[in-house]
Symmetry: D2
Subunit: 228 residues, 4 copies
């Protein structure tokens, strides 16, 4: 179950209190239950200190929210790819709009993650940046217009041209990369719309984490995928 498959629902816990520490474990449990029931891949990206306990307690794939482009050595306070891997992560988000990296560092992180065996999901804010990121050969791209993040206005319904434009531009540069979209996704129909536009999944955060019943929302998302 900890294998990353598509279509995928990747849940970013950010530093939300609803998904910190013990509450990250609860969210992982809910995600695991829905994933087992629907056979849809649901992955969770808890905060770095929560990777080890979450990975130890669940069978779903666990992602880091960020790793640094460093090797073992004299780097204080950096997130070493090897360390999150040993803690149980199978992948990492890279260059989220709240944790943007320098261009050369996106390349270096993708290369380091590949060495260590972590799946990479590189975030991008528009179609051109998605194409640029795709040229670096990560496993996945997630396009997220920053102005829609956290708004509940779904990119896949409010800005479908961003998603389809990204798919077009990325495919010319890299036919193999998996494309996700995110920002404002709160309902099953938003997920279905994302798949119809040519993506293979969604990157979500507040729509799940801050929902009254995250399990119910994840179930709606997963059913939208199995019905698509």
């Amino acid at each position: 179950m900890s294998v990353v498959r598509t279509p995928i629902i990747l849940v970013n816990c950010k530093t939300y209190s609803e998904a910190t520490g013990r509450r990250a474990l609860e969210l992982a449990e809910a995600a695991e239950a829905v994933s087992l029931e629907t056979e849809v891949c649901i992955a969770l990206a808890p905060q770095i200190p929560d990777i080890a306990p979450v990975a130890a307690s669940t069978s779903i794939p666990v992602f880091a929210q960020h790793v640094d482009p460093v090797t073992p050595g004299s780097f204080t306070g950096h997130v070493l790819p090897e360390a999150v891997k040993e803690a149980g992560a199978v992948g990492t988000i890279v260059n989220h709009s709240e944790r943007r990296l320098r261009l050369a560092d996106v390349d270096a992180v993708v290369a380091r993650a590949r060495e260590v065996g972590l799946t990479t999901v590189v975030c991008a804010n528009n179609a051109a940046v998605s194409a640029a990121a795709a040229a670096l050969r990560p496993d996945m791209i997630a396009v997220e217009p920053p102005e829609l993040i956290g708004t509940g206005i779904p990119v896949s319904k409010a800005r479908p041209e961003v998603v389809s434009g990204t798919v077009d531009l990325v495919r010319r540069v890299n036919p193999d990369v998996v494309i996700l979209c995110g920002a404002g996704i709160t309902r099953g129909e938003d997920v279905a719309a994302a798949l119809h536009l040519g993506t293979e999944g969604v990157l979500v955060a507040s729509g799940v984490v801050k929902a009254k019943d995250p399990r119910e929302v994840l179930l709606e998302f997963a059913q939208a995928i199995t019905s698509a």
Copy 2:
């Protein structure tokens, strides 16, 4: 035992492979054994992903190597003070020379750590910067000339005027803050020299982590303290 006391030996694991994952646990065990034997406070700052497992397995105080000046909310890939606290950390290194913060962020991190109940050790590269940091009222200051870090040339013996100058300058600004020093500390006599210059402990990394027998080195350090 997880109470922070002075004099203190604070061991920074950096991203050294010798102190990542399972090997951080082994180092914590060695530190705990020496601390129990000598009654000297030895604290460990493992990498962020290792805080939870290390804190769960040891009675010595565990520090983060870095936290971000953020609150619970929309911050992807940031290190939330609350999260490292819940993972078991009792303190955090701030502004290490390998992870320098903006001046206003040092202030913000010290304030956030205080709110959450984390002990702060703010690093500084010289006496003037130590005095500046002391004005922000952290719990501890650690002066470390970057050019000596990792060299085995001990600041307390090779550059005693940096340490004593720091003590003088810091005391004028803040009579209460605990002062540590670091860089190049590899022997018990370096630790003794640090205490004689007016500090209450040392911040060490490679001198312990990359030693053939870290336990032996820690024992030598602790005995230098008990004999001082």
Copy 3:
């Protein structure tokens, strides 16, 4: 006239179009006229590309808005203290809330500016950070609560305790540094209030630059100083 004296009105052009290129020259002319008329020191901080033309055309002191902590050498796209000095600047703003520096870099910039002969005005967002900055021995400190910048709500009238608290805290650390305040200053009475609270001048931006008649505003400010 290009000598920096106190009390001082330091006008930050930011990247406002009203003070870019040719329009920076017009603003310098207005400032010079008011300064000659009132004998109050008015300094201007145009954008880096505008320093040379502004300095060549005016007798008032010209400041950089920022310099980098670099020496002559392999630094592309950095602002070298020597270069702004040769272009005609007599000082520099350091660590503005829109261009914050790492703590060690504030120290390095103050040291480099001193070497080169540039007067430093280090910005700080609150009293504690002002005290920290004062420990680095710059020529001047400017306290500016970021939440008031550009609002027209004057720090000296709306938050007098921030200004007086800064004066108290800074004086304990450094009795010599000149203290300015800024944020929301738009009228002569705001300037007068700033002086009454113990500062020796103001750092202003939109209140002058975006005024219908910058010369009139500067005259009101200068007269508030001469009447104080």
Copy 4:
């Protein structure tokens, strides 16, 4: 003459004292003389404070070494594209290895420069990053392996596969972008080799700026181009 044409020799002054202030003007004069004599396009990227005086005194194209992804407004200490344009620049270097930008900021700077009418030369450290940069549709790409910068070991002769690999990868993503290379270029034969590998020019710094006779070196470079 201030029109940017290919093949091009773009000289980066960095913060070298040999090309600061008055000495930047001398270098521009030398470049202009060689350009007039050989009809090869030679452009100069002086430091930001030197753009206005250099542009006023020469007919060769002047580039900024860096601009920030900002608009006119509340940005202190930032380099506004409009300001360097008004100061006389016709283009800008972007993302030099000594001034790396976040991926989304490379995109934003290229877009802002296009709006303002500045030619963009985006630097990249390897072939993959060059392809990523090319996806953002700048005018030019300059590939420079950082480990060769300033060494005198010419990328075009010591690492020809980096240059030809970059040309291949970039052409798949963007058939129109002009490709330059740089790092270690000190002789005419290095420039000739660069052109033979499919580039349309070179980005040089110390090889010209720190030469005993920059004019002689530029002449050798330009003759290598006219003989190619």
